[in-house]
């Protein structure tokens, strides 16, 4: 017993020490400075400032609205793609190619992907050219610097997460439930609504919450596609640390975003667990 304790301590010492020094300690520094002043007195003024300032409510509202729309569109685009890959494609090689196409963007920097959309969505970009050729618009539509532009970019970045989450849920559904439903004379549409959808809902919902959390904390994509016209929450944090140099206030903003994200991820984890138990 003593020997195994020593072994455990030996194994865990380095990783725990590293995480304590370079993860927990920095986070503790932020947490502490969010409730102190330069003179090290305790204060909640920084949080009060976030809550009382109307500008922050506007930024929070914009951030949430964008994240919510991103999540909805991601589901609408990602669900059919996941369904197609799991249920419709029968040729293994094609599915393999498709999975690679879904993952390559995940392995490419946010900056590269957002830059791609900066090029595509510009006044003379491919999207406007196509829209004008098709006669859908007479003059180029302004995408950059609008919420629509940010949405297109964020959905692009986050849709692979939905495809993987929903795809995994669909792939692990035991098809005997659906067969039983069909054997009992239920049509395909009703079987989908009352059998398949509820079975893959936990996977889909936890995927959606992850997407929402990532959209709320996104920085690079909104920064590039907003063209300085729209501010989201993570930009406020970056401003405090890079140009305003108010570390206390930046810390309070950071902790707010952190708590928000952890709560969302916690909910997603609960739903995922419940789904696994039910399955």
């Amino acid at each position: 017993m003593a020997a195994s304790r020593t072994a455990l301590a030996l194994l865990l010492f380095a990783p725990l020490a590293f995480f304590a020094a370079f993860f927990l300690a920095p986070m503790a520094v932020v947490a502490i400075s969010s409730v102190t002043t330069d003179g090290d007195t305790l204060t909640f003024a920084h949080y009060a400032r976030i809550l009382l300032d109307e500008y922050h409510w506007d930024v929070l509202w914009v951030t949430f609205r964008i994240a919510l729309m991103t999540t909805l569109i991601c589901m609408l685009v990602g669900f059919p793609l996941a369904w197609y890959l799991v249920r419709i494609v029968r040729w293994r090689t094609w599915r393999r190619i498709c999975v690679i196409l879904v993952i390559v963007p995940l392995f490419t920097s946010n900056i590269v992907r957002s830059f791609g959309w900066m090029v595509l969505l510009g006044r003379t970009g491919l999207v406007n050219q196509a829209l004008m050729t098709l006669g859908l618009t007479e003059r180029p539509i302004r995408f950059l610097g609008t919420e629509t532009g940010i949405l297109i970019g964020l959905v692009y970045i986050l849709v692979p997460f939905v495809v993987l989450a929903v795809g995994n849920a669909l792939a692990t559904i035991d098809n005997s439930y659906e067969e039983a439903s069909a054997d009992l004379g239920v049509g395909p549409a009703r079987t989908f609504w009352f059998v398949t959808l509820p079975l893959c809902l936990p996977g889909a919902v936890s995927g959606a919450i992850i997407v929402f959390a990532l959209a709320v904390s996104a920085y690079v994509t909104p920064a590039l596609l907003s063209g300085g016209q729209i501010t989201v929450f993570s930009m406020l944090i970056f401003q405090q640390y890079s140009s305003v140099f108010d570390f206390h206030y930046g810390a309070a903003l950071s902790i707010t975003l952190l708590v928000l994200t952890l709560v969302l991820v916690g909910i997603a984890g609960r739903i995922g667990d419940a789904g696994r138990r039910a399955a």
Binding site: L12, P15, F22, V104, F107, N110, D174
Partner: protein
């Protein structure tokens, strides 16, 4: 039947949406014009030459590569013992330790980057290669941990015990028995770790300087003011690299994760 057709159309449109920006960037990097043109106006590799002639790009490439390699190496060295501890021992606080190591996966990188800048300023480490490295190790270690843990099964354990019963000491057993068994997890987790470090902007941006810069951060700062084919050329290099790594991962462990597992 109509529903099936609709799903097919939406799915293929979604695939096109996923591929389009990557194709456009790679295409524009080959244009002969000095502005971005797609389809490219004439074909040339001169923008890649411009990159190679620019010392600031070369040094950013070197920094990014060294950073990603070092972060991957350190995270493997930390993750392997951590996963052995988590797989082998039932101890008080095991769940807590496991969530501590995995939590960087869900943490907003902006928050961690800000924390490391603030912490680094306090201990005199801010805006240095070391500050970048420790942050990258924290965010990439979960990838290695997640790939190695599932390989530490009871069957694997049995072989390890056999080795010890036959008189091998723990160190010999680790290198001759355990390591070969978990090598696949280390390689695939290590590749994920390398890529995540290589593409990171949000964490690095707080601790980079004009002279100590990574490729993604340099691109981020550049794109906000200028858009020209050199940036498309850097992007194209990273896209091709990502595609190669994924094809490698696919060959190593098979990425056919979306095939149905319960069809009777």
């Amino acid at each position: 039947m109509i529903a099936r057709l609709l799903i097919r159309i939406v799915a293929l449109a979604a695939l096109a949406y996923l591929v389009l920006p990557l194709v456009v960037i790679t295409g524009t990097s080959l244009t002969q014009t000095s502005y971005l043109a797609f389809p490219p106006d004439g074909l040339t590799l001169k923008w890649f030459g411009v990159l190679l002639d620019d010392p600031s790009y070369v040094s950013a490439f070197v920094t990014s590569t060294l950073l990603a390699l070092a972060a991957t190496a350190v995270s493997v060295v930390l993750a392997v013992p951590a996963s052995l501890a988590l797989a082998r021992y039932a101890f008080a606080g095991r769940a807590l330790v496991s969530s501590l190591f995995l939590s960087p996966l869900v943490l907003p990188y902006v928050v961690l980057g800000a924390a490391l800048l603030q912490f680094g300023s306090a201990i005199g480490m801010a805006r240095s290669f070391e500050a970048l490295l420790v942050g990258h190790v924290v965010i990439v270690m979960p990838f290695v941990l997640r790939s190695v843990l599932p390989l530490l099964t009871p069957e694997q354990r049995a072989l390890e015990e056999a080795s010890m019963d036959l008189g091998a000491n723990p160190v010999t057993t680790f290198f001759l028995v355990v390591l070969p068994q978990i090598r696949g997890g280390i390689v695939s987790g290590g590749l994920l770790a390398f890529i995540s470090s290589w593409i990171n902007v949000e964490l690095s941006i707080f601790n980079t300087t004009a002279t100590l810069n990574t490729i993604p951060v340099k691109m981020f700062n550049y794109v906000q003011y200028t858009i020209d084919p050199t940036i498309a050329a850097v992007s194209a290099i990273t896209i091709v690299a990502a595609a190669l790594v994924i094809i490698l991962l696919d060959l190593l462990m098979g990425l056919d994760m979306l095939s149905e597992r319960h069809r009777s």
